[in-house]
């Protein structure tokens, strides 16, 4: 693996060297162009001043022409600035959440995420890296996943440290798009399922991820994905199909360090987009499957098979999305799903309801959750969210309660979040 990594670093260095050098020249040329255009603007301003001092006859037309010219020059200047800035696209998002409920962790402010995305396009190549700054305390979703939890010398857990956080690399991939039918993405990337691909707080309606999500398909993969799509026009719309196939490291804690076996995981995804007509604006279906290994402590690795369906539907102001998945490992079956109808009240307001469920003998959890909430999005970059939720434990045979352990009880909660994209 080390050799492969060094080989890829060498390839990246060779591929990246020339464009970087060329880019410096481009920037220098563009800067010179900006300086030149600034001189032109200054000259035009002087001409306007001179014309304003002249007698009124014919001045109005000339002034209008000059103002048009000024506007065009100004736009050209902005375009060049944009071209320079777009050499590397820098975006990010900020998500701050508060929740209060009747669970074992009753209330917390969560500096959930501060994400920074860096992207670059070079012809048919795309590069994207995402750094996510997480404040881990009061964040069971992160610590439970095993991403950050570690035991310290004094026997406490890192969860105990208030204010401690971490920087995680969520995406770091390079993509080559040969054409619409064939593209290759290599590196650390999100799993192809709809929620994982669109899990960013700006793009989701709820403040919380579905409870089943981390227990079925892995969140991310480090490997190679081959992907493509094709479409056939149908009226003003199109019938589209797409595919993804990936081979990756197995998915267990610290997978890049503890992938002790050469048998890699693999997965596939098929997508269908049906033609939209009239009020129906979107009708997508997808099927996913995953074959891999999970770490089971000293016992080594166990096979894990997961498959699932999903759909996204949009008609007029009504939106609907749903995902369902079933996984099997060590002869235990776990299932989960969510159903989320939503209604766009107007451009700024959207309301939703989500029903979700998880049944997993592996982590001894069976739960159903109802969420209902509203989003205020005054700008596409800002989302203010509020929601109420109710969590209900389910009675299942596979659940074992330890002696002295309290049985789970239903509880209600409220959550608020402010999200900014920049």
């Amino acid at each position: 693996m080390k050799r492969v990594f060094l080989f890829m670093v060498a390839i990246l260095a060779v591929c990246g060297g020339s464009p970087l050098w060329a880019q410096q020249n481009d920037i220098a040329v563009l800067r010179a162009e900006i300086a030149q255009q600034q001189i032109v603007i200054a000259q035009l301003l002087k001409r306007i001043e001179a014309l304003e001092k002249q007698p009124p006859a014919g001045v109005a037309e000339s002034l209008q022409d000059l103002e048009e010219d000024m506007k065009a020059q100004d736009d050209s200047l902005n375009s060049l600035r944009e071209t320079i800035n777009n050499k590397v696209n820098l975006n990010g998002y900020y998500n701050f959440r508060f929740f209060a409920d009747g669970s074992a962790d009753p209330m917390a402010f969560q500096q959930h995420h501060l994400g920074v995305l860096m992207a670059k396009q070079l012809g048919k190549f795309n590069f994207l890296m995402e750094l996510e700054l997480q404040n881990v305390p009061h964040h069971p979703e992160i610590s439970e996943s095993g991403e950050v939890e570690e035991h310290l010398e004094d026997g406490t857990s890192s969860e105990d440290i208030s204010g401690e956080g971490q920087v995680a690399v969520e995406n770091a991939w390079m993509e080559y798009n040969h054409n619409r039918f064939l593209g290759v993405r290599v590196g650390k990337q999100l799993s192809p399922q709809y929620w994982w691909q669109n899990h960013y707080p700006n793009l989701t309606l709820s403040t919380a991820t579905p409870i089943y999500l981390r227990e079925l398909f892995p969140a991310e993969l480090v490997g190679v994905t081959v992907q493509g799509s094709a479409a056939k026009p149908v009226g003003a719309s199109e019938l589209g199909v797409g595919y993804k196939f990936y081979v990756a490291n197995n998915n267990f804690e610290g997978n890049s360090r503890t992938d002790r076996d050469d048998s890699k995981s693999w997965g596939a995804r098929g997508e269908v987009r049906l033609p939209a007509k009239g009020a129906v604006r979107r009708l997508d279906f997808a099927f996913d499957m995953y074959r891999g290994m999970v770490g089971v402590g000293e016992a080594g690795l166990a096979e894990d098979h997961v498959w699932g369906f999903e759909t996204q539907f949009e008609m007029s102001q009504f939106l609907f999305q749903s995902e369902w998945a079933r996984g099997t490992s060590l002869e235990q079956t776990r299932t989960g799903y969510y159903l989320q109808p939503a209604y766009r009240i107007d451009e700024d307001w959207i309301t939703f309801y989500r029903l979700e469920q998880l049944e997993s003998p592996r982590i001894q959890r069976a739960e159903r959750r109802h969420l209902a909430g509203i989003n205020f999005r005054p700008y596409p970059q800002i989302a203010l969210k509020g929601e109420l939720y109710r969590s209900q434990p389910l009675e299942r045979d596979f659940l074992h309660t330890e002696e002295g352990e309290e049985e789970s009880k239903p509880f209600n909660g409220i959550a608020l979040a402010a999200v900014f994209f920049f």
Partner: protein, 129 residues
């Protein structure tokens, strides 16, 4: 010529490309793919550079509705999503026909749209089927 309808009046616009671009015609779906950056290369190998109008301009909302089948606001949301998931940025924007023409005339892979009355010999009009 592609014709857009905005409330009570008919506002036409034409699609323009650089004079060196050999493309003969485009379909609405091809235009949609270009302006959503799903098509990134011309058949002759040049990178596609779509140029949009400022989001407050009437032509932008007509084009957005008629060609992209989305409102300007919905397209802004689309670009937030694309920025986060694919690292793609929206097309650059211009505020006047003169600036659009200047941009398209000087960038080989550029494509945009302007009112027919603004077209001059520095760019080429591409029919939309």
């Amino acid at each position: 010529m592609w014709t857009g309808h905005a409330s009570t009046q008919i506002i036409p616009f034409v699609v323009i490309v650089n004079n060196a671009n050999p493309v003969q015609s485009l379909s609405v779906l091809e235009l949609r793919r270009i302006f959503t950056k799903q098509s990134r290369m011309w058949p002759h190998g040049e990178p596609v550079v779509p140029v949009d109008w400022d989001s407050t301009h009437y032509l932008r909302s007509v084009f957005s509705k008629d060609v992209l089948d989305r409102t300007v606001r919905e397209m802004q949301e689309y670009w937030v999503q694309q920025s986060m998931t694919q690292g793609l940025t929206p097309p650059s924007t211009q505020r006047s026909a003169r600036a659009v023409l200047r941009f398209v005339a000087s960038v080989p892979g550029a494509i945009s749209y302007v009112p027919p009355s603004e077209v001059d010999e520095t760019v080429r009009v591409v029919p939309v089927k």
